[in-house]
């Protein structure tokens, strides 16, 4: 079974190896829509928009408080490179919420007895159990210079694979710490124990520029594949164990 819906401004694709009752899949998509309704900075009625319009912290939902706590924790773990404060001063936790939502959606799926599936939200993927050919899931890494191409394939089971980068070639990205131009790095893919961790660390490590891959190298249980503007990739020391 494979179904794609456009939610949170991106295609969300759910793939299961064996057929699954429609209402179970409906529930998972419904969950993503609920997340979007709460965290979209583009929706004026969302809780995050109301917070940015001045809703005091004691009126925030428990879940929002938990998200903010996780954002703070991630900022600490990444030496401030994970930053939810935008240049205009508004809060935008979407860099964490995306992976967190995929993770929660995967847990929802598992709780309904679905074992072998993948959830792909805009190129950030959680795979559970076996892939379609009764083996590991084969996930391609997109060529940042040509969206139609795949430049690496990793084989994974029960892992999160997240990519942070610039989809439009040549865009400038600035180091939130020092304002330094980071355009040298165009794409960073992280394989982690789950998509929540893979995604938040991919976002932060990408913001570190060239140092990002060293940050991932030092992180136990994570591997990374970084591509620079000249099309040269740098990988962490055990990354190739996933290339089969």
């Amino acid at each position: 079974m494979e179904r794609t819906e456009l939610i949170m401004g991106m295609p969300i694709k759910i793939t299961t190896v064996t057929p699954v009752e429609t209402h179970i899949v409906d529930d998972v998509f419904e969950y993503f829509r609920a997340v979007d309704a709460r965290y979209s900075t583009y929706k004026p009625t969302s809780e995050i928009s109301r917070i940015n319009a001045g809703l005091p912290p004691d009126k925030w939902s428990d879940e929002m408080q938990e998200i903010m706590r996780l954002c703070e924790l991630t900022a600490k773990q990444t030496h401030g490179y994970f930053n939810i404060i935008r240049p205009d001063g508004q809060l935008d936790p979407s860099g964490l919420v995306k992976g967190w939502a995929i993770q929660r959606a995967a847990e929802l799926f598992k709780s309904k007895g679905v074992k072998n599936f993948s959830i792909d939200a805009g190129g950030d993927i959680q795979v559970c159990g076996n892939g379609p050919s009764d083996a590991e899931w084969r996930i391609g890494i997109r060529n940042p210079f040509d969206r139609t191409e795949v430049i690496k394939v990793v084989s994974v089971r029960n892992k999160g694979v997240a990519t942070s980068g610039t989809a439009i070639r040549g865009q400038h990205i600035y180091d939130p710490q020092g304002g330094k131009d980071l355009t040298n790095i165009v794409s960073l893919t992280i394989i982690g124990p789950d998509i929540y961790d893979a995604d938040r660390f991919a976002t932060a490590a990408f913001a570190m520029g060239q140092k990002g891959i060293s940050f991932i190298e030092a992180l136990k249980g994570f591997e990374g594949y970084m591509i620079d503007k000249n099309g040269i990739a740098t990988m962490t020391s055990a990354f190739e164990e996933y290339v089969r």
Binding site: D92, G123, I139, G140, T163, H172, D181, T183
Partner: protein, 152 residues
Amino acid sequence: MKKAIISIFVIVAFAIYSIHARNEQNESTVSAPSTSLQTGSSNSTTTSSSTTTTSTKGAYQDGTYTGSAADAYYGYIQVKITVSGGKLTDVAFLQYPNDQRESQEINSEAMPLLKQEAITAQSVQIDGVSGATDTSQAFIESLSSALNQAKA
């Protein structure tokens, strides 16, 4: 009284910071590498549109419109569109590019001894693709904001 003074100080300090942050954001704006209409100055990020309304046959009023700066995580995307004959005829990037024309600071920090390779296209069976989508989403946001302004 003391509280009030502190409050005012905090508000003023924040206002100054906001203006400063905004200026910084404007300074980081670079003009588009290609696509027409960009005449010289690259710092114009005003969201107001410069319209030259003439005949309109399509869904949009003729003129040029600047979209809002949309957040693409660690960068901003902002487009300027041109409508002529009621149709969208050009999209230019106000914030994003520079296409490596500026000298890039090379990070001299020593890399650990990690393996490197040149990327090459693969043609094998896969079950999914991981890639970044953030920027294209910001592009759509900025574009639709410009198009909304162009609506007759």
